[in-house]
């Protein structure tokens, strides 16, 4: 297991250029042990470069990368023993059957013959491919191959799982299954770094998020920290009971810019940008009660991770 006293992964001022293209510029972050780090950014932002540096496929870079305190440039073979990696772009030698492929990778990862059968069956069960072990890889669908990718990286029970776009090509049910697998691994203490374009997946499972754009890491934090950084719109959604009067003259309150009736019992209040939210909320509640509204829900609408992401990478 990882040493408890230090982060599972440390990126320290990492830069990488391909010719004149700066793929990564001074990227620094830490991933605590047992956390799920969601790495997001537009195409070409440098996510895969970061991941390839972490797993040792790119070795000439500036800066320092540590896994469990060990330098990836110097302790590559040690680190590979505790690492599971699902690449974004990868092919299998398709003449193999699923079982042959898993046995080869299992043996290369150090599994003994005695534990091989059990582990192969377990991982195929985990990823939902229990009936394909004797099928040739060439005969599997794209989604099945993606699950097989996941199976090969779980085989030797790694302590650090690095997944580059693990949900791509999966149907909604399979995506849900992969999210469950990641959550279960996280509960067992496995550290996971995954990149994704599907922000709802990141929001759902990541305990830490990093947003990368043009090779620069713009922000790192928990989803809550990142979302609370922006109060995009400062909105409050109010729901009242069916048949209850719904207050419509919110415009009387000086702190409210406008009110939008979403349905017969839902109203969305847009607050003025400069208002102090802690002072406004009691005023609104007071008004609702004074007008006899039977309140069912009162929510401060926070920006979704997608909105925050777009704000950071300049999508709107």
């Amino acid at each position: 297991m990882f040493t408890l006293s230090q982060p599972a992964v440390v990126f320290n001022s990492v830069s990488k250029a391909f010719g004149s293209t700066q793929a990564l510029e001074n990227v620094s972050f830490e991933i605590p042990q047992g956390s799920v780090f969601g790495y997001i950014g537009p195409n070409g932002a440098g996510k895969t470069t970061t991941i390839k540096i972490l797993v040792g496929l790119i070795q000439d870079f500036d800066g320092e990368v540590l896994v469990d305190g060990q330098n990836v440039s110097k302790e590559r073979l040690n680190i590979h023993r505790m690492l599971g990696y699902l690449p974004q772009e990868v092919g299998f030698q398709e003449w193999r059957t699923v079982r042959q492929m898993l046995i080869t990778f299992g043996r290369l990862s150090g599994l003994s013959r005695s534990e091989m059968d059990t582990r192969v069956n377990e991982v195929l069960e985990t990823v939902g491919l229990p009936d394909v072990e004797n099928r040739k890889i060439a005969h599997l669908s794209g989604g099945m191959k993606q699950k097989l990718h996941l199976a090969q990286c779980l085989l030797h029970q790694p302590e650090l799982l690095v997944l580059d776009e693990p949900m791509s090509g999966l149907d909604p049910a399979s995506r849900h299954q992969v999210r469950l697998i990641i959550r279960n691994l996280c509960q067992k203490g496995v550290t996971v770094l995954f990149s994704s374009h599907i922000l709802s997946d990141v929001q759902d499972i990541a305990t830490q998020v990093g947003i990368l754009n043009n090779g620069q890491l713009l922000v790192v934090g928990t989803p809550d920290q990142i979302q609370s950084h922006f109060q995009l719109g400062n909105d409050i959604e109010i729901v009242v009971a069916e048949g209850s009067p719904i207050c419509k003259n919110f415009a009387e309150l000086p702190t409210i810019e406008s009110a939008e009736e979403l349905s017969f019992n839902r109203i969305l209040l847009h607050l003025k940008p400069e208002v102090d939210i802690d002072r406004v909320i009691p005023n609104i509640l007071e008004k609702l009660i004074s007008e006899g509204c039977k309140l069912r829900s009162f929510n401060l609408v926070r920006p979704s991770l997608e909105e925050v992401y777009l704000k950071y990478v300049g999508g709107f």
């Binding site: 990696y85 990868v90 092919g91 042959q100 043996r107 290369l108």
Partner: protein, 221 residues
């Protein structure tokens, strides 16, 4: 340890592949067909035809098989999954080299064996001269196939395009085969062809392989 796993894995991949089965059956069958098609073949031993076939085709087959296989694996990022395990880049190339070399040599041996059996069946025990010529052809054939395999590795890691790798393999393997078949006529009499073959096998193929490994180690996959 991991090199042995890789080698066995590559061997199992190649010997089960349709290409290798076709080669193992194909070379002996072609020996028979070529013998039958030769208008002046009466009296020409099958072993001679087998030697000609192996030295003219073995190199091309080995070179193209390796160059296209490595190029395709690199294009499909197959090696990524190996290299994130405790595996050296050099082991990947050496395992593939040895697997193809072994498979092609088995095909060559089968062709010679078929020739020998057919000769025994048709003209009886081969003469010492025929056996000596066969040994010369076999040793030069093995040397040629070894070097062709090494060249196949070099071409495979150099070209990104599969068609270029195939063309490079055909060209390099073909030229090499032509040179190898000419060697006995070019050598002065005091040089023993088998020793010469052994020497180039020991020197040239490892040098080409070493260069390939250095390039592969530096290459960004």
């Amino acid at each position: 340890m991991n090199f042995n796993i890789l080698l066995l894995d590559e061997m199992s991949g190649f010997y089960k592949s349709k290409a290798m089965v076709a080669l193992w059956i194909g070379l002996p069958v072609m020996t028979v067909i070529l013998h039958a098609l030769q208008p002046n073949a009466e009296g020409v031993p099958f072993l001679f035809i087998a030697g000609l076939l192996v030295s003219s085709m073995g190199g091309i087959i080995a070179c193209v098989t390796l160059s296209t296989s490595i190029c395709s694996d690199m294009n499909n990022h197959v090696y990524d999954l190996f290299l994130i395990r405790p595996v050296r880049k050099s082991s990947l190339l050496l395992a593939k080299f040895l697997a193809v070399l072994t498979c092609v040599l088995i095909a060559a041996a089968l062709a010679f064996l078929a020739g020998y059996i057919l000769d025994y069946w048709t003209i009886g025990v081969s003469s010492d001269v025929v056996l000596q010529d066969t040994l010369n052809a076999l040793s030069l054939g093995i040397a040629g196939i070894s070097i062709a395999c090494a060249l196949g590795v070099l071409i495979g890691i150099t070209f990104r395009s599969l068609s270029l790798a195939a063309i490079g393999g055909i060209y390099a393997g073909g030229q090499l085969s032509a040179i190898i078949t000419l060697i006995p006529t070019l050598l002065p009499e005091w040089i023993n062809p088998e020793l010469f073959a052994l020497l180039i096998c020991i020197v040239v193929a490892p040098v080409i392989l070493a260069v390939s490994i250095i390039i592969f180690e530096r290459r960004q996959l």
